[in-house]
Symmetry: C2
Subunit: 321 residues, 2 copies
């Protein structure tokens, strides 16, 4: 079973087929990044239409049981999520509203500060805010995964300690692979694991240290991460951006908050445009290569199956039911 | 000339008459506290209707020249402002949009963290955010006053140093009068004055140390503030809440961000309801009493006139034109 804990692609029929052919049982897809509540309703509707249009390829998943069913019937399970808390606006009630609509993962900040806390690119991080504490508590109540990937260090640590349920970093790497604010310190990894949380290691070029990094180097990093967190706390969150447009990159980077292009998930300002991906992972068809690499790096077949999907399944079982 | 740099009343005809009888030439009134852009448009419309309905009592002021005209024609000049940046949402473009609609003061946070920075009741303050810097710069460009009254200490200091134009604390008191997060440290007062900014001292009971505090004590504090900042940097921002309802208090305190009643501008949770005001200042009709108190405390007639309004007029001339 392959679970991709974050796939940010600009989905269409051809990408559903590609994921299916790559053996993906569940992909957590990105709806909102900077969108308001109202704008996000239309993004949910877009997926409602996809589910009606391609019932032979995809199905909506809202629980671990749904993911198992997707595996059984041979479809790609789609888990809806946000990379920012912007759809909640300032309204605690929106956590349950979006849960009712099927959203199961909310990242509490996206690079910048949100009303909940500080993003990884803020110069300073004041930690989880008063509203942030309320939202984490409410996400615990309704069963929404707290995602901390693009979140600042102090806010990440605060969220780990404030949450009553395990939390996740769905798509980041350890600092030792690339020491950038978007990746995570050993301290965060330890606290995350101690709170029974998961880390999805990313295959995004910028986050592995560049496309010249080899599969073996990536898998060595996974082995080191397993030493720090325990192998059962590791998964994959590719951060694939298949068919994403330059306009979408601009939206991710600058939203409505600045009129300058600003560095973001795709790297510093100096490198505009979507990056070239490493030869050994370009599409979901390459998941098998990654699994082979993990075994070559010394992971057992069982451990590899855990990293590729089973660990996420158990995590989702605990957090969203 | 009396300028009240913050009057949060639930305005109606009787309050316009009261302000006029109290000699108020300009009142900065509060539109949004937690409202979104769309909700705030309706709050602007409410004032559009007031201006049409009571042209003999009030006029909209958007510049220092407008304030002088209000004085000349004997009306209460109304300056529109926000006590939070919520109407900007995440959109830098909203600064100019609301400026076009007449808004001349925006407080960058209200007690809690906003997208711009940290509020005075947050447990930690990470300072002005990336978006906050953009917004302060844009407010400088279009000529909107940056208000720092309910703002956290670090964010306040950051905003003072990032702003190219003088900024204001429209309605807070020095910590020595009441050492609460809503009041300001001597450090903030010094940096504010050094950047040519203004501090409007408030008459809100909670902020002066309780309704038992005497006029003489308040005026002694003003004298001490004059020593720290210079007398020409001081004004009044009453924070009057005439005719405000219990429901509005609940909105101010808890907005949509919590389901618990939360302490806010009116004091700790333990004291629900609007406070009793001190005997010597209950309505704009008591401004004369305050002016008398200032002179009794040793301020000259000219200095008193400065504090009561002329200092704000000069400040607005510089910042909004």
């Amino acid at each position: 079973m392959i679970i991709d804990a974050l796939n940010c692609s600009n989905w269409d029929k051809s990408l559903f087929i590609e994921a299916l052919e790559g053996g993906v049982t569940c992909a957590h897809v990105t709806l909102a990044v900077w969108e308001t509540a109202r704008e996000t309703l239309s993004l949910v509707d877009r997926w409602n239409r996809f589910f009606r249009q391609y019932p032979e390829l995809i199905m909506k998943v809202e629980s671990a049981a749904d993911i198992r069913q997707a595996k059984e019937v041979g479809k790609v399970g789609i888990m809806l999520g946000f990379q920012n808390s912007s759809p909640l606006e300032d309204d605690l009630g929106m956590v349950e509203i979006f849960h009712q609509l099927g959203v199961r993962v909310i990242q509490i900040t996206y690079n910048n500060a949100s009303l909940l806390g500080s993003g990884c690119y803020e110069p300073n991080d004041g930690g989880l805010t008063r509203f942030g504490r309320e939202v984490v508590h409410e996400m615990n109540r309704v069963g929404t995964v707290v995602d901390l990937s693009h979140v600042g260090e102090q806010t990440t640590l605060d969220a780990i300690s404030h949450s009553d349920r395990p939390v996740a970093v769905t798509h980041s790497n350890p600092h030792w692979l690339s020491h950038i604010p978007r990746n995570k310190s050993e301290k965060v990894m330890r606290e995350l694991a101690a709170a029974d949380g998961m880390m999805g290691c990313s295959l995004y070029p910028f986050l592995i240290g560049g496309p010249e990094v080899t599969l073996a180097q990536f898998c060595e990093s996974m082995a080191r991460a397993a030493d720090v967190m325990g192998v059962e706390k590791l998964g994959i969150g590719t951060d694939l951006v298949r068919k994403c447009t330059p306009e979408y990159l601009e939206w991710l980077r600058s939203g409505r908050w600045t009129r300058q292009s600003s560095y973001g998930p795709a790297g510093p300002d100096a490198k505009p445009g979507w990056p070239e991906w490493q030869s050994w992972f370009k599409t979901p068809l390459d998941f098998g290569t990654v699994a082979d690499g993990l075994q070559a790096a010394g992971f057992s077949a069982e451990e590899t199956a855990g990293i590729m999907g089973e660990n996420w399944l158990r995590f989702f079982e605990k957090v969203i039911g």
